[in-house]
């Protein structure tokens, strides 16, 4: 095949790669969300050492390039006799990384809750679980959804870095095809378009959720 060829088999390979990228991102986002909720709870602990642990986690993880983090964990895991293969390692790395970003987003959301709301909930004597599920959680979700979607979009694109630890996804698939066909611009352009479409999808889903959750009565709603 010559330069410029974008035939059906190539497209199928790229589509598969995109599927893997999206799957990795979704798995990582799901794990990271759970992890970030726990981390956020640590951020508001009454115990100073717990709060310090939170800050340490954020500084270390957020302050390390994902590429470095990915290689560190990929090469470190077998040292602990954890032979995970690249895919699990990829999800773990991405989850750990994205969790730090999510946690800061959630922490900001908790800080945005007006003090009177806390006092209302407190004065009702709500137990911590109900307080979280019924008051804090729903408010934080509404306050942070746009920033959360932002990080999700970033997570999808960040999967491309994982090709470095031999995870076969959209970027690695593209590189392999380019090595064979030398169709640099066609293939990278197509891969870029796939990333774009995935991110657009996440953005649209986020917007729809935002509309569904919009606080009623503040205007801007569809009557």
């Amino acid at each position: 095949m010559t330069q410029g060829g974008l035939d059906i088999p190539t497209l199928v390979i790229l589509l598969k790669g995109a599927g893997v990228s999206l799957g990795l991102a979704c798995a990582a986002i799901a794990c990271a969300t759970v992890l970030a909720v726990l981390l956020t709870a640590l951020a508001f602990s009454r115990l100073l050492p717990v709060r310090l642990f939170y800050r340490l986690y954020i500084y270390v993880i957020r302050g390390t390039p994902l590429l470095v983090l990915a290689m560190l964990i990929f090469y470190a895991l077998p040292a602990f006799d954890l032979r995970t293969g690249p895919y699990l390692a990829a999800v773990v790395v991405l989850a750990i990384y994205v969790a730090a970003l999510f946690a800061e987003v959630f922490r900001g959301g908790v800080l945005a809750i007006p003090r009177p709301q806390w006092e209302s909930a407190k004065s009702l004597g709500l137990p911590p679980g109900a307080m979280l599920r019924k008051v804090i959680g729903p408010l934080v979700l509404r306050y942070t959804l746009p920033s959360y979607v932002n990080v999700c979009v970033m997570a999808v694109k960040a999967t491309s870095v994982l090709s470095i630890i031999s995870v076969w996804e959209l970027t690695l698939a593209s590189r392999e095809i380019i090595e064979r066909t030398l169709a640099v611009f066609t293939i990278l352009g197509t891969a870029g378009a796939f990333y774009f479409v995935m991110c657009l999808g996440i953005d649209r889903a986020g917007r729809r959720l935002e509309q569904r959750l919009a606080l009623r009565g503040f205007g801007g709603e569809h009557a």
């Binding site: 009177p116 709301q117 006092e119 209302s120 909930a121 407190k122 004065s123 009702l124 004597g125 709500l126 137990p127 911590p128 109900a130 019924k134 008051v135 729903p138 408010l139 509404r142 959750l213 606080l215 009623r216 009565g217 503040f218």
Partner: protein, 251 residues
């Protein structure tokens, strides 16, 4: 019955409450009046432990609240779970209503009974509907706070406090944030509660309303209660010079 003994509180170096002694009997409505910054709102918040305090005691029906003195003679906060049970015996209505914006009127009112008191949902909802009807909002049960006027929101806040079946209602300047034409509907709701003889502690600037509903008025000045007694006596024959001055300014 609520008893407060020797309550003291400072914000940093600034003393806010400087030894409050007070008793509110069952069925009694007590109004706290005074200049802004005199400590009356802080006192109300201390009763519900929304503020901690430095010394003194708050007792509800003889039971000491919020702090315990340990065997080492030091004062400790009660554990959170116990504080929650104590709070459930009180209903608070705030100046700014503070309804939960993501919940309907009914959900706001049912939240406490369902999750703090474990009342089954159908029963909690029935209680909620009854209370909302009682404050004149039977037709707005599914409305969200931002769809309602300030007066309506405050009436829901009162229903939310009542839904806990509290021993005492603590009202913190509940009409101060309202447009003047909405004050009446909220005051009417409070008036309608009087025959039930619910104990109330009411912080207010509305002296006419205080005179009408309160059994006693306490005048708070610079962190102490300088005069307390029958509303007519307090408002018409004040003895404390700062109270005289306060009443002159309020007119």
């Amino acid at each position: 019955m609520i008893e407060i003994r020797g309550l003291r509180k400072s914000f940093g170096q600034v003393p806010i409450l400087r030894g409050i002694d007070l008793r509110v009997d069952d069925g009694e409505v007590l109004a706290l009046v005074g200049r802004s910054g005199c400590g009356k709102t802080t006192l109300l918040r201390c009763i519900n432990f929304l503020e901690d305090y430095d010394a003194g005691e708050v007792l509800l029906d003889g039971q000491p609240l919020w702090y315990r003195t340990g065997t080492d003679g030091r004062r400790h906060r009660v554990p959170d779970a116990e504080a929650r049970r104590m709070r459930q015996q009180m209903g608070v209505v705030f100046q700014q209503y503070n309804l939960f914006p993501h919940m309907t009127a009914l959900q706001n009112v049912c939240l406490g009974p369902r999750f703090s008191q474990g009342v089954p949902t159908p029963e909690a909802e029935e209680r909620g509907r009854r209370l909302l009807a009682r404050v004149g909002l039977a037709d707005r049960v599914d409305a969200y706070p931002a769809q309602l006027s300030g007066g309506q929101q405050q009436r829901i806040a009162i229903a939310r406090a009542l839904a806990m079946r509290p021993k005492v209602l603590l009202l913190d300047e509940i009409t101060s944030a309202l447009d003047p034409e909405l004050v009446g509907e909220v005051e009417d709701v409070i008036r309608s509660l009087l025959p039930e003889r619910i104990m109330m502690v009411v912080v207010t600037h509305a002296l006419g309303f205080a005179r009408e509903i309160a059994h006693r008025i306490a005048y708070v000045s610079e962190g102490v209660i300088t005069e307390i007694g029958d509303p007519v006596q307090i408002l018409e024959q004040p003895k404390d010079p700062t109270l005289k001055d306060f009443l002159r300014r309020m007119r």
